[in-house]
């Protein structure tokens, strides 16, 4: 019989244990640990990208009509989350944060929900305020196509946080339209048109990120 641990056992009998005495001695998570989600509703622009990319269906968005506009409630169910942080990566406003808090223990499922509410004002006529806008029902006011008919003129970014296309570089690949979480872009390959529905656009910048030619300015 081979007993390789005889010396080790005797040695350990008289030495200190290697236990982390957890409940008595609190311990921190590792630096980039992805624990409990913290949601910042004041930064959120309601683009819905996080909901789209979530693999565990952990994010739900509820829209209620109130007097000032739309009351939007985002709910993150930690009991359904994979903590992959894809939502935080895709959030252009950094409204989702993963903290090092790992104490996610609950006796009721409601205790594992993280939610935040904010009220989004409807778009004011005249595209002056930099507030992003979205009003699914009240959308008759077409903002007008941004800048398709400006040949050779240098395209300047708009000041309201919404995208603008540089037609001299654009190849009309439709990637931006496919990536847009709000469905505000319409790109026709054959007709070579790039149209933005300003009411739907929330100004998240996903289109600019997705653009292979980097011709969308924001």
């Amino acid at each position: 019989m081979d007993l390789p641990f005889v010396k080790e056992a005797v040695k350990q009998l008289f030495s200190k244990s290697s236990c982390a005495m957890y409940p008595a001695v609190p311990s921190e998570a590792a630096p980039h640990y992805r624990g409990r989600i913290v949601y910042h509703p004041e930064l959120c622009i309601n683009c819905g990208m996080c909901e789209r990319v979530c693999s565990g269906n952990a994010i739900t968005r509820k829209v209620e009509k109130v007097e000032e506009g739309d009351k939007i409630t985002m709910t993150f169910n930690l009991g359904s989350c994979t903590f992959c942080a894809t939502c935080a990566d895709f959030c252009s406003r950094h409204a989702i944060e993963f903290t090092g808090d790992y104490h996610m223990v609950a006796t009721k499922e409601e205790d594992l929900l993280v939610s935040g509410t904010f009220i989004k004002k409807p778009p004011v006529k005249k595209p002056a305020p930099p507030k992003p806008a979205a009003a699914p029902a009240a959308a008759p006011a077409a903002g007008g196509a941004p800048a398709p008919a400006a040949p050779a003129a240098p395209v300047k970014p708009r000041d309201d946080g919404k995208p603008v296309n540089d037609p001299s570089k654009c190849v009309y690949c439709t990637l931006c339209a496919r990536k847009c979480p709000a469905g505000a872009l319409e790109v026709d390959r054959a007709a070579k048109t790039w149209t933005l529905d300003e009411d739907k656009c929330v100004g998240c910048g996903t289109c600019a990120e997705a653009c292979p030619k980097k011709c969308i300015l924001i």
């Binding site: 236990c19 957890y22 409940p23 009991g79 994979t82």
Partner: protein
């Protein structure tokens, strides 16, 4: 007095039974790491029982697949009262990324009363210890209510 002794002992000697209901093995590994020298749950009296009849706390991991559901329910029903059911990881609570699969019939709370949820994918060993400590408290309350 004897009743109080038993209730105190119940809080100090919870034995675990681990059921894998189609887990990806991440939570299983984390549960085992709770019993290793690093976290050593045995110093709190936890012990991994071999048979559900010996257990006090049932730890369920995995999204509860159609194949595993009858076995899970049978194993849980074999645990003598007072017992406590702990779901570990996101899967048994909601199905997580496996939600909507043809073979997943979870969440577990549809079929039995779940006492403690430990969220995380997979939870840190410290979080598991937290959850088990909470389960121990519930166990003691159940014993005292008897």
């Amino acid at each position: 007095m004897f009743k109080k002794l038993i209730a105190e002992s119940t809080a100090k000697s919870p034995w675990l039974f681990h059921i894998n209901a189609g887990s990806c093995n991440g939570c299983d590994i984390e549960l085992v790491s709770v019993l290793t020298p690093r976290y050593d749950a045995e110093r709190l009296g936890f012990k991994l029982a071999g048979s559900p009849r010996h257990a006090d706390i049932v730890v369920v991991t995995g999204p509860v697949t159609a194949q595993s559901l009858p076995r899970v329910l049978r194993a849980i029903s074999q645990v003598p009262e007072p017992r406590c059911i702990v779901t570990m990881g996101s899967c048994p609570q909601s199905g997580n990324v496996f939600r909507g699969s043809y073979s997943v019939v979870g969440p577990l709370s549809k079929y039995v009363h779940v006492d403690v949820d430990v969220a995380g994918c997979a939870p840190k060993p410290q979080a598991v210890i937290d959850g088990l400590a909470l389960a121990t408290k519930i166990l003691k309350e159940k014993r005292e209510a008897k």
